[in-house]
């Protein structure tokens, strides 16, 4: 199809969709440089909102808290999830199918329901709201994504490689460390990125579980949208998307997801 008329139409379509995907993000960035507090046009360039952001400890603290929670979530969920995927891949046992099906409720049940259920439960057992509850919730939401993504990568793994290594006398830990993990590294990185994204953009569960004065960035943004949204939010969002872009490009060098197989 290369070079044909249809291919051009296809590429144009892709371009149009990318424009659709990025239009609001560009508007968001644009408005962070606009002087009007009420997002009024015409556009008038100003760095006021970045200056105000620099002094807004509430937003900066929330952003820092979000990054820390997302990083912790990523580490825990990726470790536990990879371990579980290895067990699900390597062994046949009764109840395996059930365990695989159990991964779907957290993805399939609307977060609104999961979040309120967590609030009721954590409140009932005396843990209440707060960062520990938020963290427990985030890891639980990220886990299924990690397991699904890592398992998908494991499915392409050639078992004979492990057997060959084992026949040469390597013990199972060495096999895992030297043969299996390097092979699924790109899956683990993709899973970790998913976990980070799930946690970092998670507002429903955080909204119900975070403590007054200790909210994460998405919660702060949600409450601001309802109560008092200023372009400072645009400024911090712009900074975040730029950092994300850098991180993604960096991660892309280490994994070839999406590229040639």
């Amino acid at each position: 199809m290369k070079g044909t008329y249809l291919a051009w139409v296809g590429k144009a379509w892709l371009g149009l969709i990318l424009f659709f995907l990025y239009a609001p993000i560009i508007v968001m960035a644009f408005m962070s440089f606009n002087a009007s507090q009420y997002y009024q046009l015409p556009f008038e360039f100003s760095l006021t909102w970045y200056e105000k952001l620099g002094q807004n400890t509430e937003i900066l603290n929330a952003a820092t808290r979000s990054v820390l929670i997302a990083l912790t979530t990523t580490v825990i969920a990726t470790t536990l999830g990879t371990a579980a995927s290895l067990a699900l891949f390597r062994f046949e046992f009764r109840g395996k199918r059930f365990l695989q099906v159990m991964l779907f409720p957290p993805i399939a049940i609307p977060w609104l329901i999961t979040g309120t259920a967590m609030l009721i439960f954590f409140y009932g057992v005396g843990l209440g709201r707060g960062t520990p509850s938020v963290l427990i919730g985030h890891v639980a939401l990220a886990l299924p994504y990690v397991i699904v993504v890592v398992s998908a990568r494991l499915a392409t793994f050639d078992v004979t490689l492990e057997e060959a290594a084992r026949s040469m006398g390597a013990d199972s830990w060495t096999v895992t460390r030297r043969v299996t993990l390097p092979w699924i590294a790109s899956g683990i990185i993709a899973g970790a990125l998913f976990a980070f994204a799930v946690s970092f953009d998670q507002f429903v569960v955080s909204y119900f579980l975070s403590e007054p004065g200790d909210s994460t960035l998405p919660v702060l943004i949600y409450t601001s949208i309802r109560k008092g949204f200023t372009p400072e939010i645009n400024a911090i969002s712009t900074i975040i998307i730029v950092i994300s872009m850098a991180v993604m490009l960096f991660a892309a060098r280490f994994s070839n997801f999406g590229g040639e197989r």
Binding site: M28, F91, S237
Partner: protein, 287 residues
């Protein structure tokens, strides 16, 4: 692999699996059970509140037409958003997987999934700035077009659909792309050499083979959209009342948690029912 497990293997399985599954149990399954229990209480058992077991909360759903109307409205929204996303996203995934080659594909793929890393609320709020009267879209179109148009999509159902499609489109592109990438190009070449035309190839070969990915994406979109409350609230204005917004109200504004829980489980049951109805199709697609 043998089905009879050595003691050592069993230990290994347990040590690898239990951390993840214990976590899921504590954070997801126990809370959901607690919520189910709450939905049968007359009042929240905190403080000195008096409560008893009751099915009133479920009956409330049937007593007025309000909840059923809103649930149906939410399901329609879910179907619309899913359909639009699939129709728009699948061709996109196809172009990405089969037309574009090499390094630029990787770059474009990253561009498609990057919006996930920006805050979904901020994106929705940006749509508000784009869609409202005298907003970016209005000014932009009037700058290009020779005649005067008055675009004010804000606070309407189309605005909600646009915002939701934007939020969830990458899911269906992602899953379809992964499925399409797995189709061997030589299969397509073979079909073509046997004289099949493009439409036949698409309908008889590509679509069936990529259906699992397409459906997975559709489910990932449909489920959260049915329960959505933030997007309708911000973009919908007067028409932005949905089943999800009513549930949110029960939890954060009206403090009727038992009713909120009952409504949540009704939503969950309906979503699972829809998925169960769709699952034979899913299974056939995988076979």
């Amino acid at each position: 692999m043998s089905t009879v497990l050595a003691r050592q293997d069993r230990l290994k399985i347990a040590s690898l699996l239990s951390p993840a599954y214990i976590w899921l149990t504590v954070a997801i399954f126990l809370p959901l059970s607690a919520m189910l229990y709450f939905s049968f209480l007359s009042d929240v058992p905190f403080g000195d509140a008096e409560w008893r077991y009751t099915t009133d909360n479920y009956q409330a759903f049937f007593q007025t037409s309000t909840y059923a109307t809103l649930l149906w409205k939410s399901i329609k929204l879910g179907l619309t958003v899913t359909a639009v996303s699939v129709l728009v996203g699948f061709p996109c995934a196809y172009v990405l997987a089969k037309v574009i080659k090499g390094k630029s594909r990787e770059a474009l793929f990253l561009l498609v999934i990057l919006p996930f890393w920006s805050n979904s609320l901020v994106r929705i709020f940006s749509w508000a700035i784009v869609l409202r009267g005298n907003g970016v879209l209005d000014l932009g179109l009037n700058a290009i077009l020779p005649f005067e148009v008055d675009v004010n999509l804000m606070f309407s159902t189309p605005a909600i659909v646009i915002g939701l499609v934007h939020s969830y489109l990458p899911y269906v592109i992602l899953t379809s792309y992964l499925a399409l990438q797995a189709i061997d190009d030589s299969l397509i070449d073979a079909a073509r050499s046997m004289g099949a035309n493009k439409l036949t190839i698409l309908w008889r070969l590509i679509l069936p083979l990529s259906l699992p990915g397409l459906l997975a994406g559709a489910v990932l979109i449909f489920v959260p959209v049915v329960g959505s409350f933030m997007e309708p609230r911000i973009l919908g204005g007067r028409v932005g009342t949905y089943f999800g917004t009513v549930i949110e109200d029960q939890f954060v504004a009206v403090f009727n948690w038992p009713l909120g829980a009952a409504l949540s489980f009704i939503l969950l049951a309906v979503v699972l029912l829809i998925l169960a109805t769709a699952s034979p199709v899913l299974r056939r697609a995988q076979a």
